[in-house]
Amino acid sequence: MSSRDALDLVWLVPAFPIAGAIFLLFFGKRIGEPKAGWIGSGLLACSFVWSVVTFFALRDVTPRAHVRNVFDWFVSGGLSVKVGFLVDPLSVTWILFVTGVATLIHVFAIGYMHGDRRFGRFFAYMNLFVASMLVLVLGSSFLVTFLGWEGVGLCSYLLVGFWFERNAAATASKKAFITTRVGDFGFMVAMFLIFAKLGSLDYSTTLPGAHTLANGTATAIALLLFLGAIGKSAQFPLHVWLPDAMEGPTPVSALIHAATMVTAGVFIVARAHPFFEASGAAGEWVAWIGGFTALAAATVALVQPDIKRVLAYSTISQIGYMILALGVKAYAAAVFMVVTHAFFKATLFLGAGSVIHGSGGVQDMRVMGRLRKYMPYTAGAFVVAWLAIAGVPPFSSFWSKDEILTKAFDAHNYGVWILGTVAAGLTGFYMAREVYLVFFGNERFRTVPVVAGGADDEAPPDANEPVGTPPTQFDTPTVSYGEPPRPVLLTGDPHESPPVMVSAILVLALLAAIGGVLDLPFRSLEALNKWLEPVFADVKPVHPPSFLGAAALSTLSVALGVAGILIAWALYKDGLRDASRDPADERLGRAGRIFGHAYYFDEGIAAAVSGPVRRAADWLAFVVDAKIIDGAVNGIATLVRKSSDQLRKVQSGLVREYALGIVIGVALLLVWIVTRAWG
């Protein structure tokens, strides 16, 4: 079997999880726990294996790209869309880490979802989620990518709302879908424009043609695509769905944040980079939005009390880096960051999941502390991932983040560089805060009075309770900023998670630790950069930085990160004396409140939607439609009826009036005749 033959079989990569999804959707319940989970994970593992095969096969072909068209999807006029897969370094990079990380998350979920009544369906959705992501990255045209893109959206809806009995979950899933749909709008219009200008939607024809476009057109396409990216990658201002998406089971969060969803935005920009190249202005926008999001999200993460919510804002912030990188045309660096981020963020989320799992569903960091004693493996993995995200060398993120900031500086985009660097310091702080609050310091889960009967906080909470139970006060385990610490219900000590979960975390932690080797900033060790070179060959290279300059910059960012860690250590090394008082928050004062409420952005939107927007829609539906338009219709009917009543009155039953009617007719007829005779 030649390499090309192997590449022709690339469709197997998404086919495995698709098959799994279909199979589990129909038979998941019958197969039951845990077999359904193993089938899902196993198929995904097959997919990973085949991804590896594909990777090796691709190394053997030149040029490093292979298109496999499976069938004609549809043809209309000049538009011909094939369901086809594009295998090139970019997509292969993606499928490798997606399938790899997702497999581990699946394995983790087998333990985590233990006992859920919809266990089988969960894995069906998860498989479909991964499959969609694989279609997204492997797609040979914008439209196939869009197919996966929307599939990802669908699955995020299904998974975030997996525990739909909770109103918060239901609302969050809807919000996730609709918010990303705003981005999809941009994606769609971008496709229209691409087709209108280039007559195709295939990457193979449109991407090389991008440079022929007028600057303005290219900018429009680029920014519209970027709108799609903003939606999927949760960048400002469409980031609002991501923190709420925590309502899904934790493995889902891990999948969304690490592998399948939020990186889609980065991917599409990387994939469509010729448009960004052809446009002068688009890059600036991208860089600034990325930088701004990176910093703003980091500030929000500073004071969050919820273990997952900190991670959620951290994701937004980290993706901000990647976007920033894309903006300064450091595409390879962005991809590098995506990969390392997948490793450490998956570790962090699974770690958090393990913590929640082991401590009876608690998510409030203020009532944790010193958990390393009870769950050492989780703690170890978490710490590794923490160091990685904080940019401590030699962990993975140090290399990737450093590369991005260096590139930004080299691109003379100093403003963005400052944003990113400051955010690096904040990252160190908030991650250290999390680690200290959760794993170190004092044990606080025993200090808060236990309220009997609050069984609803367990995860999975309501899915297993009998139907018809009245809703409880705490519908969601998520803890928002400003909420008082919740009482904890623990029948025993917190405990380490079962091996199936721990092993997955540990593997990921290892990757997080060493992921940096993929692309060390030394000549001949830039493996990923070289690997991706064919994809970004058209990018005008920025003049290579001097080694010294680069070193100085890294030192600065590492120093800031370490400073952040130290401050956190100072504040939280002993844990919290009073669970309801957070030192960082208190020191930040009013700023803390603003950060805590995420600049009131989401709340503002919510207020607008439930206030003026809702009122306007109500007005449209119940005044304009019901009263004015339908009123006009009914008005005509009423007019006829009124006229009819009038005519009935005229028909008085008095014969002399009838005669008068005749005479009036005669008179009028004669008037006409007179005008004819004399006119």
């Binding site: 009826r641 005519l647 009838y658 005749i662 005669v666 007829l669 005749i673 007179v674």
Partner: protein
């Protein structure tokens, strides 16, 4: 004296031409004689009935040779030019006779049921039909006038025939007073026309006007304006329509059916003949007036029906709006328009007699027809309800019924003649009309959960007798056939109006 009489140049009488009228009038006279001579026999009424049907059928049978003759050899002009038997006349004569026979069938059982058996009723109906028949072939204003009276006066009596009901008498009185009034106006129109042209013969008028240019045309114009009023009264054109709802509602239902169908056909025969034969050159003068009449008739007829609560009265209003549609065809003034009017009249006769037929069967002794009484009818009397729904839908102009073909014809004529606005008014009036038809349909179709207290048990138990059943079946079949395969009828109508009318 004998010599003197011999000197009198009696006009040449074509017996075939007058035979149908003779048959009808003869039957009527026979019935009267029978009634007068045999006073107390149970057989009087059945035999009268037999004579009546025989008379109508003979008259109808005589129309066939007339038609053939006319088609093959051209129109028969006889009775010193007073009478002109042509395709047009024969066709409408057919409409009149069909209506008559159907109305007679309805009346036969109705009279029995209501205890109104009277050979006089039949005689009057036949005499009225004689007048109508005479009207379809009348070629002279005086002949038209006399025929008009011959058809009207029996109708006054028939409307008031149910002596026990005040409403029936009221109907007769109103119809009579206004009828006499409009006759006088019509006659004045005849007088003025006579003065302006020197003749009352339609052909004579046409020839005169073709040969001479009347400089002071005022009297002429006034004359035919008044003719329009008189005939407009008979066809119930707005604003000369106000007698219609009252007379139709009050009259015994079979009479209403007869008035609505046959009278309209006869009156339209006269209207078309007068204006298309005598005054084609003055089309520009009368057409706009007819336009307005048609529009008013359509609008008022439809709108006024909307809020009616009595089904019979509603049907009366709907017959007014139907007159409006026929006027559309007339207004076009073309061969297509005439053809359309003929088709409409025939179709309308079936639809309206069918509708009134059902109403006859459903009427209580007091002849009230509140829409509430029809509620849930489809459950109680599915067959009758089915018939009525069908007839109402046909009247609304639903395709695959005669009503649609008829309306299509007149709209086509209007569009062909460039009267787009009138066509639009017509179709919109049809929409309004549909509203009240649907109201009745809905009432019948609504689930009757026994909450309808007004349903008279007697009415619910009433069966469909043979005669009425035949009427409904014939009317429904005809309406359907016209709707589905209208070819033959349209061809007949075309033959009837082929070429010029004189």
């Amino acid at each position: 004296m004998i010599l003197a009489a011999a000197k009198l140049a009696t006009p040449n009488v074509n017996w075939l031409a007058v035979a149908p009228e003779i048959a009808l009038a003869g039957a009527a006279v026979l019935i009267v004689l029978l009634r007068a001579l045999v006073r107390r026999s149970r057989l009087v009424y059945p035999s009268a009935l037999f004579i009546a049907f025989a008379g109508v059928l003979v008259a109808g049978g005589l129309l066939v040779p007339q038609w053939n003759k006319v088609q093959n050899h051209g129109a028969i002009t006889t009775m010193a030019g007073m009478m002109r038997v042509d395709g047009f006349g024969v066709f409408l004569g057919g409409v009149v006779l069909v209506s008559t026979v159907l109305a007679l069938l309805l009346a036969a059982s109705y009279l029995e049921r209501e205890g109104l058996e009277g050979p006089e009723f039949l005689a009057l109906m036949l005499l009225s039909a004689t007048g109508m028949l005479a009207m379809t072939t009348a070629n002279d204003l005086i002949a038209i006038f006399v025929a008009l009276e011959v058809l009207s006066i029996p109708l006054y009596v028939l409307a008031a025939f149910d002596r026990r009901r005040l409403t029936s008498q009221e109907a007769g009185l109103k119809y009579f007073v206004l009828g006499a009034f409009s006759s006088a106006i019509f006659l004045y129109g005849v007088a003025l026309t006579y003065g302006a042209t020197g003749t009352t013969s339609l052909t004579g008028i046409a020839n005169f006007l073709a040969a001479n240019t009347v400089l002071d045309e005022g009297v002429l114009l006034a004359g035919f304006a008044l003719l329009l009023v008189g005939l407009g009264f008979k066809i119930a054109a707005v604003p000369f329509h106000m007698w219609t709802p009252d007379a139709y509602q009050g009259a015994p239902t079979p009479v209403t059916a007869f008035m609505a169908s046959a009278t309209k056909a006869a009156a339209f025969a006269a209207l078309l003949r007068v204006f298309l034969v005598a005054f084609p050159l003055y089309r520009d003068d009368w057409q706009p007036a007819v336009w307005v009449l048609a529009a008013l008739t359509l609008i008022v007829g439809s709108v006024a029906a909307v809020m009616q609560t009595d089904v019979k009265r509603m049907l009366a209003y709907s017959s007014i709006s139907h007159a409006g549609y026929i006027l559309i065809g007339f207004q076009a003034g073309t061969a297509r328009g005439r053809e359309a009017a003929l088709v409409y009249l025939l179709t309308y006769a079936f639809m309206t007699i069918g509708s009134f037929g059902v109403v006859t069967l459903l009427g209580a002794r007091d002849d009230r027809h509140s829409i509430g009484d029809y509620r849930g009818l489809s459950g109680r009397q599915p067959v009758l309800a089915g018939f009525l729904i069908f007839f109402l839908l046909a009247q609304a102009g639903v395709p695959l019924t005669g009503g649609f073909i008829a309306k299509l014809g007149v709209f086509a004529a209007a569009v062909d003649a460039g009267s787009y606005a009138l066509a639009v008014i017509g179709v919109l009036a049809a929409v309004i009309a549909a509203f009240f038809y649907l109201r009745v349909v809905f009432a019948m179709f609504t689930r009757s959960d026994g909450d309808v207290g007004t349903a008279t048990p007697a009415r619910a138990a009433r069966t469909i007798d043979l005669g009425s059943g035949a009427v409904l079946a014939i009317a429904a079949a005809a309406t359907l056939v016209i709707g589905v395969v209208p070819g033959t009828l349209l061809q007949l109508a075309r033959d009837a109006t082929f070429g010029r009318l004189f």
